[in-house]
Each structure stands twice: as structure tokens, then as C-alpha cells.
């Protein structure tokens, strides 16, 4: 049996004292090709969990495996990341930004890099703006470029940290559909951090709900909505049911917090 794409084993994170952890005993398994969302209130440690999976933050306790291998230095061809603010390098053109992860591999030749970058831009429907600088693009286009940069190395896992949170509703819907299309096309494993319950239900195979103080997993909800998903589903009673279920689970977290 193949190892899960991501497995988080009893991970805790404490910045000051282990008695007051930011994240407590997190256990999470994400199967290959799955699209999992993590929702929770601000400050519950969703992004910290994602950064630990990405390998830039060390857990205080526990460990994380990627395709069964112990946490080690990541490679963009294995695991890539899209942050909230696109974080494109302002001094690089769109094409050069997308090329960047491949440039870090000293053996790669420029022609191959550019070819792959153009293919990634085409995949996210952003061809034609290769020579523009990030500040010349709209917010949605910048996020598409960040998505292309994440996909350029053919990573098997894509981590998304509230990537569409700063966008208007129309653009966000459009990019959500693009994300679903790309995931269906490439079979990439996706972990999405969001505070938008509707977005989580619309996109996910499974939603992980987190509570705060300390950050912990309150529960997981499978979303059995049919695929391919369309925006029309958002208004259906079934969709509302899953939104309500997540909302209820989130509220149990508030109750726990009040009791303390």
C-alpha cells in the first residue's frame, strides 16, 4: 500500500513553553491526489502547520513524513507552496518568477526552464504576460503567476496558504474553478489553508476543522459533493448542509475555549 502524501504524527509547536503550545498533538493524514482544506479561526495555527509541512518551521514535538519519508530538506519538484500575497519577486518578470524554482537547480539548462515555465503559465491561463513585471498585473493575475511558479516543477504536493483571500469574490470563484481543473488535470495533492468555509466546501474532498488556544484539530468532515464541481452547487441544500456541519464543529471549539 502506497504511503500517504503527507502524514503529521502527533505534532506540537511551542514558541515559548511546551506547557503553552501554539499547536497541540496534531495528527493528520493526506492521501495522494486528495484535496484537503484546513479551516479555523485566525491564530489557530493553520499557517504554522502548513509551514511545518513545507519544512521551514520545526515542530517542537512529533514529526512529519512526506510520501513515507521523514521530514528532510524539501524540493520544489516534490512540494510547492503558494502564499497569500503571491510573493512574486518584483524585480523579475512574470516568466522569470516562474523560472525561479528551476533556476535553483544548477544542472538545468535555460531553454528547458523557459519551456517548462511557459507550459506552467499556459496551464493557469496566463500566457501573454511573460515579460510584464508583477506590479503591472492585477491581484488575480499575480496569484495565477504564483500558482504557475508552484506548478512549474511538477510538484506532487501543492500547499496553499489562503491564496485567494485578498481577491474579490468574482476573481476568487474563477481561481477556485481553475484550481479544481488543474488538480483534476494533474492529480496533484493539495492542502489548502483558508478561513472561508464556503471555499473549503466547494474545493475539498475533506475539510479539517481546527480550534484555537491551543491550536488543535476539532474534527474532519468528508465532502461527498459530486465532481466536477460548479458554482451552481453553492446554492444547493446539500452544500449548505456541509457548510453548516463545519460551522457546528467550529462552534464546539468556541465552547471548549469558553469553558477554560
Amino acid at each position: 500500500m502506497a504511503a500517504p502524501a503527507i502524514e503529521v504524527h502527533h505534532v506540537s509547536l511551542a514558541y515559548t513553553s511546551i506547557d503553552h503550545p501554539e499547536l497541540r498533538d496534531i495528527q493528520l493524514k493526506v492521501e495522494d491526489g486528495e484535496l484537503v482544506s484546513i479551516v479555523g479561526p485566525s491564530g489557530c495555527g493553520k499557517s504554522s502547520l502548513l509551514r511545518m509541512i513545507a519544512g521551514v518551521l520545526e515542530p517542537t514535538a512529533g514529526h512529519i513524513t512526506i510520501f513515507g519519508k521523514e521530514h528532510a530538506r524539501r524540493h520544489w519538484s516534490e512540494l510547492s507552496f503558494v502564499p497569500q500575497d503571491s510573493l512574486l519577486l518584483p524585480w523579475r518578470t512574470v516568466l522569470d518568477n516562474v523560472c525561479l524554482p528551476l533556476e535553483l537547480d544548477r544542472d538545468a539548462d535555460r531553454d528547458t526552464i523557459v519551456k517548462k515555465a511557459r507550459a506552467a503559465l499556459a496551464l493557469v491561463n496566463l500566457s501573454g504576460v511573460e515579460s510584464k513585471y508583477p506590479r503591472q498585473l492585477s491581484g488575480g493575475m499575480r496569484q495565477r503567476a504564483a500558482l504557475a511558479r508552484a506548478l512549474v516543477g511538477n510538484a506532487r504536493i501543492l500547499l496553499l496558504d489562503e491564496p485567494f483571500a485578498a481577491l474579490d469574490a468574482l476573481t476568487r470563484n474563477q481561481l477556485n474553478l481553475e484550481l479544481l481543473r488543474i488538480q483534476a488535470q494533474t492529480g496533484i495533492t493539495v492542502v489548502l489553508v483558508t478561513h472561508n468555509i464556503f471555499e473549503a466546501v466547494f474545493l475539498s474532498d475533506r475539510v479539517v476543522v481546527m480550534g484555537e488556544k491551543p491550536g488543535r484539530i476539532l474534527g474532519e468532515i468528508n465532502i461527498p459533493l459530486p465532481k466536477p464541481r460548479t458554482l451552481k452547487m453553492i446554492g444547493t441544500p446539500e452544500f449548505s448542509h456541509w457548510v453548516g456541519s463545519i460551522q457546528d464543529l467550529l462552534e464546539t471549539g468556541w465552547g471548549d475555549q469558553d469553558e477554560r
Binding site: 509551514r51 513545507a54 519544512g55 521551514v56 530538506r73 524539501r74 524540493h75 520544489w76 512540494l79 510547492s80 507552496f81 502564499p83 500575497d85 510573493l87 519577486l89 518584483p90 524585480w91 523579475r92 525561479l100 524554482p101 533556476e103 535553483l104 510584464k132 513585471y133 506590479r135 503591472q136 498585473l137
Partner: protein, 261 residues
């Protein structure tokens, strides 16, 4: 919106304010010169006439200009090649930052006119003392802006590059250097201009050539038009250096001038 407006400017529109400003300055100068004796404030025509005499007497301005140019440029180069590595090491090692900052600020706080005679005594009346004085005044803005520029590197970008698997060297060349350029260029421009002042202060303290020497000589002879010639040449030198750096800035930072589509 401002960016859009700037991209619509033709070269004519860019040059027009400069030409108009210069013309206005000359007119104002002429008007004021009418109110004073030429000994106090010579008119533009009198300065031009003094320049003509200077040329006809085979006293070329170019040699003085060249000496000051060389001193300032060498001083600035010395400042840059010492300040940039130092700012990087101070950025990488906060201990070094804390250790050296009081000394750097202390040296900067001592007026260069007070320090210049000492350097002339130590290093003589030749070009060396002037280069060192120019380097000393240019050093502070370059090292400070270099350090500030590096410190302003977005930590989220650094983290992203780490996720990409970037090495320390990759992070330096692909992130820290380009990220610090805008702030660094601010320091380079100030440093370059200050290096001209440093060279002139050095020439004032003791020299046989250079624009500072020329102005000092003219002062001794009460030759006010010659003082003006020296001052105009100095302004031109400072402006030339500034424009050169601005050009370099545009070449190295093309993303800064691109408009929002």
C-alpha cells in the same frame, strides 16, 4: 495613476522643466547682479567673460576639474568597496552591527572640515589625503543604506526561497541583492555627492590643484567671477555623478519604471 502619467512623458517633456529651471535661474541671477557690485555678485556675462580670459591665458579649467573628479571618484569607489562588504557582514552578524555602529556614527559626527587637516598632515598634500577624505564622507551613507536595504529584505520571500530549496548564495544573489538595491542607490547617490564635497574640503586644507584649490586661490585674489566658475564646475561635477548613478539605477532596476497596466 502617477506611473501612467510618467510613461506618457516624452524626452521633450522631461527636458523642458530642466531647461526652464536653468533659464529662470540665470534670469534671476542677472536681476540680482544688477543690484550689486560685480565684486560681490558678478553677472552671468561677467563670469563668462572671466572664463574666456582664463582660456586665453592658458589656465584650463579642465585640469582642475579632472583632479577633483579623480579624487571624488576614487574616494567614492574606495568607500563603496569597503562599505558594501562591511554592511553585508553587519547584516549577517548582529554582534558586528552593535560593535561597529557607534564607531561609524562617531566618525560621521566629527565634522570633515575638522578632520581634513589631520589627514593632510598624515598623508601629505597629494591626491591620497583627498581620496581618503572623500572616502570617509561617502562611507557612512553607503554602509548605512546598504545595511538598511539588506535588513528590509522581506522575510516571507526568504522563507519562500528556502521552501524552493535555495542555498545561502542563491538567497543572497536572487533576493537580498536586488531587494536592497532601491535603498542602496539612495545611499550611493548621497555618498557620490558627498565625495565631491570631501575632495573639495581636502583641497581647501592644502593642495596645488583641483576645483577646491581654484576657489581658494580666487578667494585670496578677490576674484569673485573665478569663484563662480569653480562653483559652477563643482555643481556640474556633482550633478554629472548623480545623473550617472541615476542612469545606472534605471539599468539595474528596470522594474521600477514600468507602469501599471
Amino acid at each position: 495613476m502617477n506611473d501612467k502619467r510618467n510613461t506618457r512623458q516624452t524626452p521633450f517633456h522631461k527636458v523642458l522643466p530642466v531647461v526652464a529651471g536653468l533659464a529662470g535661474f540665470v534670469v534671476l541671477w542677472q536681476l540680482l547682479a544688477n543690484l550689486y557690485e560685480p565684486f560681490i555678485l558678478p553677472s552671468p556675462a561677467e563670469v563668462a567673460e572671466r572664463y574666456r580670459i582664463m582660456i586665453s591665458n592658458r589656465q584650463p579649467l579642465a585640469s582642475h576639474f579632472g583632479i577633483t573628479f579623480l579624487e571624488a571618484l576614487a574616494g567614492f569607489t574606495l568607500a563603496v568597496i569597503t562599505a558594501l562588504p562591511l554592511s553585508y557582514y553587519m547584516y549577517r552578524h548582529p554582534f558586528l552591527d552593535q560593535l561597529l555602529t557607534p564607531f561609524i556614527v562617531g566618525i560621521q559626527a566629527v565634522p570633515i572640515v575638522a578632520l581634513a587637516p589631520l589627514l593632510v598632515i598624515w598623508f601629505g598634500f597629494g591626491i591620497t589625503s583627498k581620496v581618503l577624505i572623500a572616502a570617509l564622507v561617502a562611507f557612512f551613507p553607503v554602509v548605512t543604506n546598504g545595511l538598511v536595504g539588506l535588513k528590509e529584505t522581506d522575510p516571507r520571500l526568504r522563507e519562500l526561497l528556502q521552501i524552493m530549496g535555495a542555498s545561502r548564495r542563491d538567497i543572497f544573489f536572487k533576493l537580498e541583492v536586488p531587494s536592497s538595491l532601491p535603498v542602496l542607490f539612495g545611499g550611493l547617490k548621497v555618498g557620490m555627492t558627498l565625495s565631491v564635497i570631501g575632495a573639495v574640503v581636502g583641497e581647501f586644507s592644502g593642495a596645488g590643484k583641483g576645483l577646491g584649490y581654484l576657489v581658494n586661490l580666487a578667494r585670496g585674489n578677490f576674484d569673485t567671477p573665478l569663484i563662480f566658475i569653480g562653483l559652477i564646475a563643482l555643481a556640474g561635477l556633482g550633478l554629472g555623478f548623480y545623473l550617472l548613478l541615476s542612469l545606472l539605477e534605471q539599468i539595474l532596476m528596470p522594474w521600477k519604471k514600468k507602469s501599471i497596466s
